[in-house]
């Protein structure tokens, strides 16, 4: 197998600061360039990453900071992004994933984060335990 085709993985640990939301989505966009994605595919993944990372900052760590664990796997033409936090966790995942559902107190959130992840990726899986944290895994086939 040539260097081109082997499965690859990138791991990042970044701080749950709102300014890292942009860094995270741009880093994933740069990394996935090797799949020769279309501009629209890059935007799709950037948006989904932005949603998941923003959620760790606001909801997982409630603005108090912490570490965001980001993993990007590339296997053939599929990209898998995992965003993990060790924050407060989600008591009811099904409810949390409903469109427009938000626990945001200041009312500026739309509750559409999970809907966007689902709209822009082929597959979204959420695992969470209250008090332990949340893992969001998203996959998408890049046709280019």
């Amino acid at each position: 197998m040539s260097e081109q085709n082997k499965p690859e993985i990138l791991k990042m640990e970044l701080e749950a600061l709102s300014k890292n939301e942009e860094f995270a989505r741009v880093a994933v966009a740069v990394f996935m360039a090797r799949l020769n994605p279309t501009l629209e595919e890059v935007d799709d993944v950037k948006t989904a990453v932005s949603e998941a990372v923003t959620n760790t900052v606001i909801h997982g760590y409630q603005g108090n900071g912490g570490i965001i664990y980001l993993e990007v796997g590339i296997d053939g033409q599929e990209i898998a992004v995992t965003v993990r936090d060790t924050g407060i966790g989600i008591p009811d995942i099904k409810l949390a994933m409903e469109p427009m559902y938000t626990t945001d107190p200041d009312g500026e959130r739309s509750g559409m984060g999970f809907s966007f992840m689902e709209a822009f990726m082929d597959q979204v899986e959420v695992k969470s335990a209250p008090g332990e944290g949340t893992v969001v895994t998203m996959k998408k086939k890049i046709n280019g």
Binding site: S50, I58, S115
Partner: protein, 113 residues
């Protein structure tokens, strides 16, 4: 990282909000406070959002639009949008915003209505 923040412009009873290049949670943080202040001190009948610099937007942008929509709906005012590029347009569509706010081709058209 250029133009990270909102800039505001008033034209009569219309408030024009120039959105940043990256319309995400980080860059949205000051908007609620700033627009609340402007709306409380001025008689504003219409808010026009200028997307012409915006290259990226996520659901945080939808949140701020929905909330301004509710504010203006309460006071009988209106909201308009112009300048949205392909990425923002997709987000605005999927986020249901285009059912609530009219999209215009230019600033002039958006202000006039």
């Amino acid at each position: 990282m250029n133009q990270p923040y909102f800039t505001y412009e008033a034209e009569g009873q219309t408030l024009i909000v120039h959105l940043p290049e990256e319309l995400d949670h980080h860059n949205c943080s000051g908007l609620k406070y700033e627009t609340d202040l402007i709306l409380s001190e001025n008689y504003i009948r219409r808010i026009v959002f200028d997307f012409s610099k915006t290259r990226f937007m996520d659901s945080s942008g939808i949140g701020i639009l929905l909330n301004r929509y509710k504010q203006m709906a309460l006071s009988g005012g209106s909201i308009a949008i112009y300048g949205a590029g392909p990425q923002a347009l997709r987000i605005l569509k999927i986020g249901g915003i285009l059912k609530l706010m009219k999209l215009y081709d230019s600033k002039e058209a958006a202000v006039t209505g």
